[in-house]
């Protein structure tokens, strides 16, 4: 127990050391930090009480922003990025949809469904306000529409079926290529792939965390240069493993 306590205190000491304003000693910083306590209110801690827990992305963003603001004001720790990854504005994502290039959407479930709904409606020319997702029906079609040369959607078979059904409304049926991962029975153990974090590639890669809101309110993240290198590293390893898995497929047959 004593050892645990020592370790605990040692681990906490950097944190405790920061709280010199608590120690009651006037080292010169105390008044400045007391002002900091007053400033905490400017971080809008009240927003924590109004978090929408049905929307993971917004909760993450809310908690992170308050925590970051409080750390910055009281402990003068301001080195954390504005979001946990580089956040992307919805405008940047839309920009990708307008370039007339190929678009790739990967992920499963409602988020991918809502996003493809949006694309299909916008490509089909308007009527975006008819889309409803989680009871939030207000989508506005982007001004000037969107142009993509081809859209690939990789998703679970149930979503794939629904998306395919909706493609009928498009003039060009070949505009979308929909791949259902998980075989005819929608089970990850058939394809041995769990679709992880949902991703969109439109000129550059974006990760998104959907919520019960239109896509423009979702949390959109993008990679920056140094991040890309590391994502590449992971992808390279994953490709290696996938290749050896393909060899095992042969062995099993």
């Amino acid at each position: 127990m004593r050892r645990f306590l020592t370790v605990f205190l040692m681990a906490l000491s950097p944190g405790l050391a920061q709280m010199d304003w608590l120690s009651g000693l006037d080292w010169g910083g105390i008044s400045a930090n007391l002002q900091g306590v007053g400033q905490v209110m400017s971080c809008d801690p009240g927003s924590l009480a109004q978090l929408d827990f049905s929307q993971p992305s917004l909760v993450l963003r809310g908690v992170y922003r308050v925590a970051k603001c409080v750390l910055c004001l009281t402990l003068k720790m301001c080195g954390l990025p504005d979001d946990m990854l580089y956040p992307a504005a919805w405008g940047e994502v839309l920009q990708g949809f307008r370039g007339g290039r190929e678009v790739l959407i990967v992920g499963s479930g409602a988020g991918v469904k809502a996003l493809t709904d949006y694309l299909i409606a916008a490509l089909g020319g308007g009527a975006c306000q008819n889309i409803s997702y989680g009871g939030v029906p207000i989508y506005t079609c982007p001004e000037g529409g969107i142009q993509v040369s081809r859209a690939f959607v990789v998703t679970d078979p149930a979503t794939a079926r629904e998306v395919r059904a909706k493609l009928q409304s498009l003039q060009d049926p070949n505009l979308f290529k929909v791949v259902g991962v998980g075989g005819e029975r929608d089970s990850p153990e058939l394809s041995r792939v769990l679709l992880g974090l949902p991703m969109v590639y439109a000129e550059r890669p974006f990760l998104f965390a959907p919520g019960y809101s239109p896509p423009d309110r979702w949390l959109w993240l993008t990679f920056d240069g140094p991040t890309t290198n590391k994502v590449l590293l992971v992808l390279r390893l994953a490709t290696q493993y996938a290749a050896s898995a393909a060899q095992r497929e042969e062995e099993v047959r």
Binding site: G183, V193, G196, P205, P226, T227, A242
Partner: protein, 626 residues
């Protein structure tokens, strides 16, 4: 950056095309369900004589070839065209020894612990290498560490895999509303129990090859200058930003550490998983046999034994590691047994009420009654006090509702007599209804107003009445006599799935109970594993002191906080490799075993590189006597 992205996308596309292209439209049901569970007949008396209980599975395609009879291509080249080689057709039966549920839960716990170890090693390698030398001193040299990893034993949650259950049954059962089919027992468990600000593994786990590294210089600290206590200058971004930061070195360190973790430490994870999954415990057949005291069923209890069968192994692209499980060999407490039977009844009734037609709903009383009566008449319970009460309970449970139901359907109205006669009569009536559905007889006359669209006995090879059988996929793990009487068995299965996520898993948020505590702990987990470089800003305080009067300038720790985090890309650790998941599934007798591919007892070549494989066929031959 543009070049990096340009490379990233073909990489991602190649990966996706592998998974989408390799199977065309995806693997089909037939590819995955080649094995039938056959006769869970445990020969309970044999168990008393020291033979370990086992299950039998039959490979469908080989069985069909076998039933066609032998074929020698040298004597009859014409007739043997398109036939499987005879020795292959002969090898259509496989024997799987039973393991205890508790032992498989223990295996699941170790699998979870192996993941936790990897997760800790991954993060602490990256953060220690990045923050060298400060963290090297703290964690590698001084050895500051938290408590050992000690995850609780995971719950055995049943899953009804969608690739196993008949789609027609699933459609029928989900018609009234959505139905819980469970999920992988491992879902959401690839995480630590507590995210502490100190490593929970030994220093040597992540300090290997790491020495104190002072050069290259990582940063020039940010500072502010005070003159007689009044600030006169501060560097831009002080105190959060250092004056200069060696971004190239920081990125190189993170990348180097990630590569090490994702290759070496990940390989260790794979090895550990292979060892945990494929090592039988206890380690020798004699030790296993010693756990079977002969003489009386009541001495059997539930020996903790894990006897895995590699169905080509758990690796991606392979099959699974499988172990059929029992909760106890033979139940000895009639009250507990009755509770269990009641829970089976509730599950069964709930499902058949959803999926069955009116006449099928009558019949599940019969089906259940017959199975439970067989169970209670089992030799395992001879002379067990309290069984009479249990038998009475069964009659009370079934008789009254069955009698009242028979009055509503014309074909059943003539059924009378004691409960056994009633049951036989109802079974015969059901057969007439089935024939009528298939075109022999007048359905309207038999059923009156109610409808029967689907055949009751399906036109497929599997035995029994398919709906009643499929429903058994929802029954939980039980003891040997229960499996025998109800005609099903439960399996523990483990296999690797490829997933792309972050570490800790950003999706691991429990939405089932929405409360602030859940969210705060989730946010803490995420924030406590950010990739940050800690730097120390300085204060330079210049004062005129009485020494005799002279000017002294000295650096001191800043009052705003001695250490400051600087987030380094990728901020959160990515992970996109295979990891081991596990689950418990139930399989009706004569029906397809889900989630297995390839051939039992034939481990993949890659597995021998991961662990020293025990010859399980030889191990089990001693135990099973075959």
């Amino acid at each position: 950056m543009a070049r990096g992205v340009a490379v990233a996308v073909p990489g991602a596309l190649a990966l996706l095309l592998f998974f989408s292209g390799a199977w065309g439209n995806g693997p089909t049901y037939e590819d995955w369900t080649k094995y039938l569970l056959s006769a869970p007949d445990y020969r309970l008396e044999q168990v008393l004589r020291g033979k370990w209980p086992y299950l039998e599975v039959v490979r469908k395609d080989r069985l069909r070839e076998y039933q066609k009879g032998p074929c020698d291509p040298q004597q009859d080249p014409q007739g043997c065209q398109g036939r499987m080689p005879w020795p292959q057709a002969q090898a259509h039966e496989f024997y799987l020894p039973m393991s205890s549920l508790e032992a498989t839960r223990e295996v699941a716990r170790e699998l979870r612990k192996a993941w936790q170890r990897f997760e800790e090693r991954y993060y602490w390698r990256v953060i220690t290498e990045l923050n060298n030398p400060a963290f090297w001193f703290a964690y590698c040299f001084a050895g500051i560490r938290g408590p050992e990893l000690n995850p609780p034993t995971p719950e055995a949650r049943l899953m009804v895999p969608s690739e196993g259950v008949d789609t027609a049954f699933l459609q029928a059962a989900t018609r009234p509303g959505s139905l819980d089919v469970g999920r992988w027992a491992s879902a959401g468990l690839h995480s630590l129990d507590r995210y502490l600000p100190v490593p929970q593994v030994e220093p040597r786990e992540f300090c290997d090859g790491l020495g104190m590294q002072i050069l290259p210089l990582m940063y020039i600290p940010g500072f502010k200058v005070l003159l007689q206590g009044h600030e006169v200058f501060r560097t831009p971004g002080y105190p959060s930003r250092p004056l200069w930061f060696n971004w190239d070195e920081a990125n190189a360190r993170v990348e180097r550490a990630m590569e090490k973790a994702l290759t070496e430490y990940y390989l260790d994870y794979q090895k550990e998983v292979a060892r945990i999954l494929l090592t039988p415990r206890p380690g020798t057949p004699q030790e296993v046999q010693n756990l079977l005291p002969g003489g009386d069923f009541r001495n059997l209890a539930s020996p903790r034994v894990y006897l895995p069968v590699p169905w080509q192994g758990h690796l991606l692209g392979g099959g699974s590691v499988v172990a059929p499980v029992y909760t106890e060999l033979v139940p000895t407490d009639p009250t507990a047994l009755w509770d269990q039977i009641q829970s089976l009844w509730n599950t069964y009734k709930g499902l058949m009420d959803r999926a069955g037609s009116e006449v099928e709903r009558v019949y599940y009383h019969v089906h259940f009654y017959r199975a439970a009566r067989t169970l209670f008449d089992s030799r395992a319970f001879y002379g067990l006090p309290g069984m009479e009460v249990v038998k009475e309970n069964l009659v009370n449970l079934v008789e009254a509702p069955l009698r009242s139901l028979t009055q509503t359907i014309p074909v059943l109205r003539g059924c009378a007599g004691d409960l056994d006669q009633l049951a036989s009569c109802a079974a015969l009536a059901l057969r007439r209804v089935d024939l009528a559905v298939k075109g022999v007889g007048n359905l309207q006359e038999l059923l009156g107003g109610s409808a029967q669209v689907e055949p009751i006995k399906a036109s497929r090879e599997s035995p029994g009445l398919w709906k009643f059988e499929e429903a058994k996929r929802w029954l939980p793990p039980a003891s040997l006599p229960v499996y025998e009487a109800f005609g099903y068995a439960s399996f523990f299965q483990a296999q690797n799935l490829l997933e792309a996520t972050t570490v800790p898993d950003i999706r691991n948020v429990d939405l089932s109970s929405v409360n602030l505590g859940n969210w705060i702990s989730w946010a803490w987990n995420q924030l406590s594993r950010l990739v940050v470089y800690w730097h120390v800003p300085l204060t330079i305080d210049a004062r005129v002191e009485y020494c005799p009067p002279c000017v002294i300038a000295y650096p001191s720790l800043p009052l705003e906080g001695p250490v400051q985090p600087l987030a380094i890309p990728p901020y959160v650790l990515p992970f996109a490799l295979e990891r081991t998941h596990w689950r418990w599934v139930s399989v009706p007798e004569g029906y397809e075993v889900p989630g297995v591919r390839g051939t039992p007892y034939r481990p993949l070549g890659d597995l021998s590189a991961l662990t020293s494989l025990v010859d399980l066929s030889a191990f089990y031959r001693v135990l099973l006597g075959r």
